[in-house]
């Protein structure tokens, strides 16, 4: 087997193992909360008989590890059960909302990643001169702004002063692709502002780091233009840290944007999780927790693999 393939398979297997461990943690954590699911369903009006009946019908009298495997079996076959609060099928609700989450994250990533790397390259090229200072200054101030402030600002600017977008960003099945893009424009702008600086700074720092190397000096002495030196010689050797930061930000775009979702009324996974946490709807919390964990682990594996593929030393181990 090719050593890279072997490494990749190893990473994926390791990731799956990690995910399994996380699923145990999530299950044990929600189980350890005071009160059980039956109590959560019946609330304060629970009588002992009603509790006993419900425990029986939900199978809560079985030991914890058996219930865990039941749950895991359901999850593996795509059955997350039903929400306690409104009886809706969790799998269906999550599928739709996960789609919305990925759509928003995808749009934000499609703009922010190329933009951040491009700006990082430009900043590195003009290190210490005015383009570097402007880029760093602007991106640092947008990242310093709390998300909801940025959100209110763009709402004010782009729906009231210049009314070109709509403040509420809900998307529904049946909307055309363009209508959806138009709906998510404002949250995408906010998310781009928030994640831009981190990736831009890392690109700049990584490039500047390799710019000290002897081979860069050689390239410069050959008479190559500065942008060409950066693009051809510096970037390929600086790509590993950039990838890991980009992936970290992608993970944030998927699992960490609940504030933005709330401000724009965007119907995605974060808002769904928070609502159900407030009502102690444990099956939903477990399911969403597991999905978030899977996204994190998956993206980290991806980062690893890409770093290996991009790094000649790792690609050709001695």
């Amino acid at each position: 087997m090719h050593p890279i393939l072997k490494l990749v398979v190893q990473r994926i297997a390791l990731g799956l193992l990690l995910l399994l461990a996380v699923s145990v943690l999530i299950y044990a954590g929600t189980e350890a909360l005071p009160g059980d699911v039956a109590q959560a369903i019946l609330g304060q009006s629970a009588t002992p008989e009603a509790l006993a009946n419900l425990r029986e019908s939900l199978g809560l009298n079985q030991p914890g590890y058996i219930r865990y495997f039941h749950w895991l079996g359901g999850v593996l076959t795509g059955d997350f059960g039903k929400a306690l609060t409104n009886g809706q099928d969790i799998g269906q609700a999550i599928a739709q909302r996960l789609g919305n989450t990925l759509f928003l994250a995808g749009c934000a990533a499609a703009i922010s990643v190329p933009l951040a790397i491009g700006l990082g390259l430009v900043a590195a090229r003009y290190n210490g001169r005015w383009p570097d200072k402007v880029i760093s200054g602007v991106t640092l101030s947008t990242i310093s702004l709390p998300e909801f402030v940025a959100a209110y600002f763009v709402i004010y600017l782009l729906t009231q002063v210049i009314p070109i977008f709509q403040p509420v960003a809900m998307v529904f099945p049946g909307m055309s692709f363009w209508a959806k893009l138009n709906a998510v424009a404002l949250p995408v702008i906010v998310l781009v502002l928030v994640v831009l600086a981190h990736m831009m700074r890392m690109t700049r720092a990584a490039i500047l780091n390799v710019m000290q190397s002897a081979y860069i000096e050689t390239a410069e002495l050959k008479g190559l233009s500065p942008m060409r030196v950066i693009w051809k010689h510096a970037l390929p050797n600086a790509v590993a840290p950039i990838i890991s930061v980009v992936v970290l930000n992608l993970a944030y775009l998927v699992v960490g944007v609940v504030v933005v979702e709330v401000v724009f009324g965007y119907n995605a996974l974060g808002q769904y999780l928070v609502d159900h946490v407030a009502k102690r709807d444990l099956p939903v919390v477990q399911a969403v927790g597991l999905i978030f964990a899977a996204v994190y682990i998956g993206l980290n594996i991806l980062a690893d693999v890409l770093a290996i593929v991009a790094n000649p030393r790792l690609r050709h181990p001695k």
Partner: protein, 529 residues
Amino acid sequence: MSDELHYIVKRAAKGLMSRREFMGRATALGVSAMMANALLASAVRAEEPKKGGLLRAGMAGGESTNSLDPALAASEVPFLVNMTWGEMLVDVTPNGEIDYRIAEEISSNSDATEWKFKIRQGVEYHNGKTVTAEDVVATLKRHTDEKAQSGALGIVQGISEMSASGDMVTLKLASGNADLPFLMGDYHLIIQPDGGVANPAEGIGAGPYKIVENEPGVRHAFERHANYWDPSIAHADQVEVLVINDNTARTAALQAGQVHMINRVDPKIVELLKGVPGVSVEAVAGRGHYVFIMHCDKAPFDNNDLRMALKLAINREEMVEKILGGLGSVGNDFPINAAYPLFDDSIPQRTYDAAKAAEHYKASGHDGSPIVLRTAPGAFPGAVEAAQLFQQSAAAAGIPLEVKVEPDDGYWSDVWNVQPFCASYWGGRPVQDQMYSTAYLSTADWNDTKFKNAEFDELLLKARAELDATKRKEEYSKMANILRDEGGLILPMFNDFVEAKREEVAGWVQDPNGELMNGRALVKCWLNA
């Protein structure tokens, strides 16, 4: 009618001017308030509703955990959603009268223990079935089942026997209750096919709109129920509720025209919103109130002089002005106001009187140690500030209050109904009996002032079975006076519902029964495009 008056009546009828503004201008033109009201009502009636279009509400108070099961409705969005697809036996009109819906006639025996509801013929559910008397009984029965966890359990519990024959539903009560028809207008008691026993959250009812999209916490979309029995309402072809819990986004959506009406306008921005073209703010005096409650059975509040001293030591006008931003009215230490039927407006208004408060305080013989008042930001909006205002006005009367701010988390389980003196709030009830029975009857679970008065209890039970309105009003007036002078309730203010709508929305009526025209705003308004 003067030109000016004519002009403002027209503007108000079109919804271009708020009712409050209209009343102010009309009275400035020398018209009496009653006359102005009548003018407005007839002008609104004269305006022909326009059919068609898509009417949208943006609302706070929805979560992705919401269900369509009417028994479970508790927050604002499920309430309005259910009012849009559901139909009850009756509604209560803004004037506090019965609006006959599925019941077309109601009669009772002389001691109000047996009630007959005649069911309207040919009312159709969204699934094509017809509403029957059996459905009504099955619905009410489902709400009596503890497993249904119905918010109307307290209402239907008092019904000892239900039966259906032909188009007649007969309800027998354990003890007489003259208010039963009003109680049947409770928003949980939506009539469902076969009582909704098999699938309570199906969302099939006999209301004006049927649900086409139900995404809890996000959006609820409806289209007109083609065979709805009452052609005088349900004007828009489609209606929609968007859940927008964030205050700023909700207001922005209204300004941008993405929604036509919103609930819960933040009192802080009312003045700003009034200046926005195309938008009007509607403040409706409702029955909800903000209170400070004392346990009548715990020292030092077991002394009526001390209770009276505290009641006199609160500055009600200041509270309305500073806590509600003027969007409310002063309270009189009993939980009833003019929004209730049979309200006695001749009961004198209690006002801030530091000298008298000091007198009562001295008479109580309290040892001068600070009296602890517990509050929390979530007790009601502005509860901490209100407690501080109370502390200052009481200090001026020589009464030392110590304000203790508690965390929101656990306030309703560890402080309210547990600690002897704290801030709290109440939403209103449709009738006086229900309000008093919920919180002031000696045996009530939620008797949060631990008020136990045999005469009061007796009057309450007597008034409940009294069919003569004059006598009932007298009895309620006596009860109000007892509670006002001896109770543990300090009620400084009734809060308004503050809502806003766009100018193209017509048919808006002020309804003290509940938010957004008692949940029927989407059903009763239309779009003047």
